[in-house]
Symmetry: C2
Subunit: 129 residues, 2 copies
């Protein structure tokens, strides 16, 4: 597992919560205007959580929050090759959101699988570059 | 991270999906009538996913499915000592669901932190026994 993505309303508060409750440490933080998100990745031991706050209401994370409230947003599995993983998923009949690898947060190569293909779980495949 | 818990409607179908899409292998499977759940843990590489199907509508997972549909249910972090982790969480001001360790699925020692304390994420601390 590369990381878990959690949608939050206030990024500063969420980072502080993970530091206080779980001794998490901040790994990266960035605003990605074209994805409508401000993201912080925090490490809990060897586990990584991406905290995602929307930059506005009409953004993917903003719409998620309006519909479901803050909480678990996606899971990302690390793969050696995102393109090969997508090809395998497509052969296995999975509905894809991204049909080719693209640049995700923090410079990662990523692609998303549709939650309908994975029993409601928005699933990402990731290759650190 | 010890595991992720995902709520599903049909456990056989969900296990088959994880095998087919991600090459997952079944680690354990059991029905726990007093928790109202049939659970399968599957391994994706070194990551563990607990697939949780309700044994009836009036169960915690049944009510979750009725309200939110299938999807991400909880995250479990491994700790060396659940009691000590709870004490630390309580000192840090976290609202707890379980104030003492209890027996969870697959013989694990577990306790749950209230999602309101963790920005909407139902969080478990786990110690394999």
């Amino acid at each position: 597992m590369h990381h878990l993505g959690f949608a939050v309303i206030d990024l500063d508060e969420a980072v502080a919560t993970y530091e206080r409750l779980f001794g998490a440490t901040l790994e990266h933080r960035e605003v990605v205007p074209d994805q409508g998100v401000e993201a912080a990745s925090v490490l809990l031991g060897t586990s990584r959580v991406e905290l995602l706050a929307p930059t506005g209401d009409d953004t993917p994370v903003g719409r998620f929050l309006a519909k479901r409230g803050p909480g678990m947003h996606h899971v990302a599995y690390e793969v050696p090759d995102v393109g090969a993983a997508l090809a395998g998923l497509e052969r296995a009949g999975a509905e894809l959101i991204d049909h080719a690898p693209r640049r995700g947060l923090f410079g990662l190569e990523v692609a998303f699988v549709h939650p309908d293909a994975v029993h409601g779980v928005l699933t990402e495949v990731v290759c650190p570059v």
